[in-house]
């Protein structure tokens, strides 16, 4: 079973600057924050395939505050992928696309989201399916 989160954002910048913001450890520390507290997360990220990294935030009663990952794909400046694990292991894939006119599209896919890791359910268009479910709640 596999839920996929998919998001798109457009930025007025160059693809190189966006790539740097996604891969430079000191820049990542400026925007990847703990959403509960808004605190930035320390990290030792490097855009090197096979590199193991951590993002750290204040631990809570329920969570040690550590997200662990391993870099899977580095295709500068278009594609970056890594695992992202705090409890269960997901995969994050960023795709950067130059739209011209000084705009860049950033696409995020986070796959492997479930809370039952032992499941071997069929692969399915989960986000679409969840979208269809909106009608059920109406």
């Amino acid at each position: 079973m596999n839920l996929t989160l998919s998001l798109d954002f457009q930025y007025t910048t160059t693809i190189e600057k966006l790539w740097s913001a996604l891969t430079d450890s000191s820049k990542l520390a400026k925007w990847v924050a703990n959403i509960q507290t808004g605190q930035p997360m320390e990290n030792n990220f490097k855009p090197v395939v096979g590199h193991h990294f951590q993002f750290r935030t204040q631990p809570t009663e329920y969570w040690n505050g550590i997200i662990e990952g391993e870099v899977l794909i580095v295709e500068e400046p278009h594609r970056l992928s890594y695992t992202w694990a705090s409890g269960e292991k997901h995969t994050i894939t960023w795709t950067l696309q130059d739209l011209g006119d000084g705009k860049v599209n950033l696409h995020l896919e986070q796959t492997g989201i479930s809370n039952a890791q032992a499941l071997n359910g069929a692969k399915y268009g989960w986000s679409k399916w969840c979208g269809d479910l909106e009608k059920v709640f109406a």
Binding site: W31, N115, V136
Partner: protein
């Protein structure tokens, strides 16, 4: 995350394509008798019943006897848990991507 009080995990219940199809069929009508559900699948009544039992255990399906037939209806609320689960990450990245936008704007100045 919302707490799960059902005896079966809702994620487990929807991990099977037959059960997802059952949910969709039940979402289209108020109530459907078992024999009407069975004809929609290339499997016997017993197999479909088993899937419905799993959905029932997850709190997704309610049934009642009417004469000699069993009728099923959907209870969609446990599916919210699925949405909440994804929404957590969605919120995390959306918020952070907005911060990323601010960072890039500062760089431009």
């Amino acid at each position: 995350m919302s707490e799960n009080k059902q005896i079966r995990d809702v994620f487990d219940a929807i991990a099977d394509p037959t059960r997802r199809r059952l949910i969709q069929l039940l979402s289209e009508k108020a109530e459907i008798p078992l024999h009407e559900l069975t004809v929609q699948f290339p499997m016997g009544r017993t197999a479909v019943s088993k899937h419905l039992t799993i959905l029932k255990e997850a709190g997704l399906v309610l049934d009642r006897k009417v004469g000699r037939e069993t009728r099923f209806r959907l209870n969609a609320s446990p599916l919210r848990e699925i949405q909440d689960w994804v929404a957590f990450y969605s919120k995390f990245w959306s918020k952070n991507m907005l911060r990323l936008g601010q960072l890039l704007e500062e760089e431009e100045e």
